[in-house]
């Protein structure tokens, strides 16, 4: 299996870029020569130079250091949001699909209501309840992603639970938990992985967008979306503030999307070329 995955160029390329970004996040203090929070007002809005690779912001902070340290926040926020959607959505989906009947009806009814809030609106509504802040954004984006997992995992479980080998396991007296964990879960893991790759990219974009409008990371946190918001306020004087954090987001999301496409083509060849 690993051999098959590594044969695919897009998986190797997307995966390498992602590993590189994780390394950048881990070794941020060794890569940068400035503290991302150090304010030097007399050094404000300096254009990119050999001293400050990406220039400085309105408080004289080094933008390169902030972009590098920002990778820690964006990757962490994206990953935790993803875990929330993945665990909650898969759990509800597998239960709905396996037990069916009333449980299925209730979970799917809740799901239909959540799907009535398009795109970011569900996350915005949850931030409305919990209040602005990066932790609340993780929860909001995480819950916002749950309906997709419920739908896919439920449908997969439904189609697998009536297959002969599952029925055989039931006939042999295997318990419900055993059937769910040993017989059903391993066989629906491929669509979950594909969805997770797409969801990771989406979660990074959504949390950056919420930070951009001021509902996520609060100053002075070096978060990419929040940095672009500063770039917007200083756009006439400092093009670099509105440029580099955006390139960082794009490279991260692009790498994850390329990886996701590769995984989809390899793990589920029937979906190749579709969206």
């Amino acid at each position: 299996m690993l051999k098959r995955l590594l044969k695919k160029n897009s998986i190797v390329f997307g995966g390498s870029v992602l590993v590189f970004l994780v390394l950048v996040a881990m070794f941020a203090p060794w890569i940068t020569s400035y503290n991302p929070l150090d304010v030097k007002v007399d050094n404000r809005l300096k254009a990119p130079s050999s001293e400050h690779l990406f220039g400085t912001d309105q408080l004289g902070r080094d933008v390169f250091s902030r972009v590098v340290f920002g990778s820690r926040i964006s990757l962490r926020v994206g990953f935790i949001s993803l875990l929330i959607s993945l665990l909650l959505g898969s759990f509800l989906g597998i239960i709905a699909g396996y037990f069916g009947k009333r449980i299925d009806n209730i979970i799917m009814a809740v799901n239909d209501v959540l799907l009535a809030f398009p795109g970011l609106l569900l996350a915005i509504a949850i931030v409305g309840i919990l209040g602005p802040g990066i932790n609340n954004v993780m929860i909001a984006v995480g819950i916002g992603g749950v309906p997709d997992y419920i739908r896919v995992v439920r449908n997969q479980t439904l189609s697998i639970k009536n297959l002969d080998y599952v029925q055989a396991a039931i006939a042999m007296g295997a318990g419900r938990i055993r059937i769910l964990l040993r017989h059903i879960l391993p066989n629906i893991i491929a669509p979950i992985i594909i969805l997770a790759a797409m969801g990771f990219a989406g979660a990074i974009l959504a949390s950056a967008a919420l930070s951009f409008i001021g509902l996520g990371a609060q100053p002075p946190t070096p978060e990419w979306g929040a940095m672009l918001s500063i770039g917007r306020s200083n756009i006439r004087e400092a093009w670099w503030l509105a440029t580099f954090p955006g390139i960082a987001i794009t490279i991260t999301v692009l790498a994850i999307n390329i990886l996701g496409d590769g995984l989809r083509d390899t793990l589920d060849p029937r979906l190749k070329g579709t969206y």
Binding site: D112, G119, L121, I124, G246, L254, N257
Partner: protein, 306 residues
């Protein structure tokens, strides 16, 4: 057909009902006292009590919901805690601006998406297909608001062709609509491409080719028409995404729409306004989906039998 339409319309009623319950619960799910959060820690006990009374938070929860629902149906979403103005009036004053942006963004996305998707699916040169699909991949990976910033840098500052921010005539709409439509156009392009490739494999296309019809005729007369059905569905779904995406784009271009209203209300924790906008947008989305399904049923009578 009639039965399908009636059934489809009836199924939206429980959804709308549930949406109203969820939006109503928002203020009750807030950790802590919503009135104290709205007014801040310095508010006097008297003021807190007065606002609590004004919002009817002292009544039993079912009474509160019944009141919320009956008022919302009549378009009464209460008053803003900050400005004291009617929330519904505030939304109505700003909605045309949001709708204009969403519709224009969607039209651009449809145009670019369908043309790019068709070109990609029917290109003789595999490199054209690759370039278009690579462009689509990059377009869904670029954060919309950053694309907007780059457009401002290029077309408002470097070459001042369009205004940097605000609202007014057509010139104010171009950059925000381009920004908003970017990722939707990529998604529409991918769906169009996949759908055309699928349709081109069908027997009736082979038959049309065998009858000696030109390539253009086969693609536009036979393939595109049938390929557009999944595209219409995805366009409908994109409308919701664009509507909520407009919240971010309005902030970026300082356009006074309902997104801007919501963002300010979220920062000030003005619950009646937040609830009003969320309810309004969700209901709009549910209704648009209903319309899309009806259009689909009219275009493709097979849907009824599925």
């Amino acid at each position: 057909m009639k039965r399908y339409l009636i059934r489809r319309i009836i199924t939206t009623i429980p959804t709308l009902f549930a949406v109203s319950i969820l939006v109503f619960s928002m203020a009750h799910l807030v950790p802590g006292d919503p009135v104290k959060i709205m007014l801040g820690t310095h508010a006097s006990a008297e003021r807190v009590e007065r606002v609590r009374e004004q919002l009817g938070l002292n009544d039993p929860i079912l009474v509160q919901y019944a009141r919320f629902f009956t008022k919302a149906v009549k378009g009464d979403f209460g008053r803003s805690i900050r400005s004291g103005r009617e929330v519904f009036d505030e939304i109505m004053a700003r909605f045309p601006s949001t709708l204009e942006l969403t519709v224009f963004g969607l039209l651009l996305a449809i145009l670019v998406g369908i043309v790019a998707g068709t070109l990609s699916a029917t290109a003789k040169n595999p490199r054209t297909d690759l370039i278009i699909m690579l462009g689509a991949m990059i377009s869904v990976s670029v954060p919309g608001f950053w694309f907007g910033l780059i457009l401002i840098l290029l077309f408002s500052i470097q070459w001042p062709l369009f205004p940097i921010a605000g609202s007014g005539g057509f010139a104010f709409l171009v950059l925000p609509a381009l920004t908003l439509g970017l990722s939707a156009s990529a998604i529409i392009a991918r769906v169009t491409r996949a759908s055309i490739l699928e349709v081109l494999r069908q027997n009736y296309i082979q038959a049309a080719k065998a009858r000696g019809l030109s390539k253009v005729m086969v693609i536009y007369k036979h393939a595109l028409r049938n390929a557009l059905i999944p595209v219409i569905t995805i366009v409908g779904l994109q409308f919701g995404g664009l509507l909520s995406g407009a919240f971010i784009i309005e902030f970026l271009f300082a356009r006074p729409g309902i997104g801007m209203l919501a963002v300010n209300a979220l920062k000030q924790r003005d619950f009646p306004v937040i609830q009003g906008v969320v309810l309004f947008a969700a209901v709009a989305y549910v209704l648009v989906n209903l319309i899309v399904d009806i259009i689909n049923a009219i275009i493709d009578p097979r849907i009824e039998y599925k």
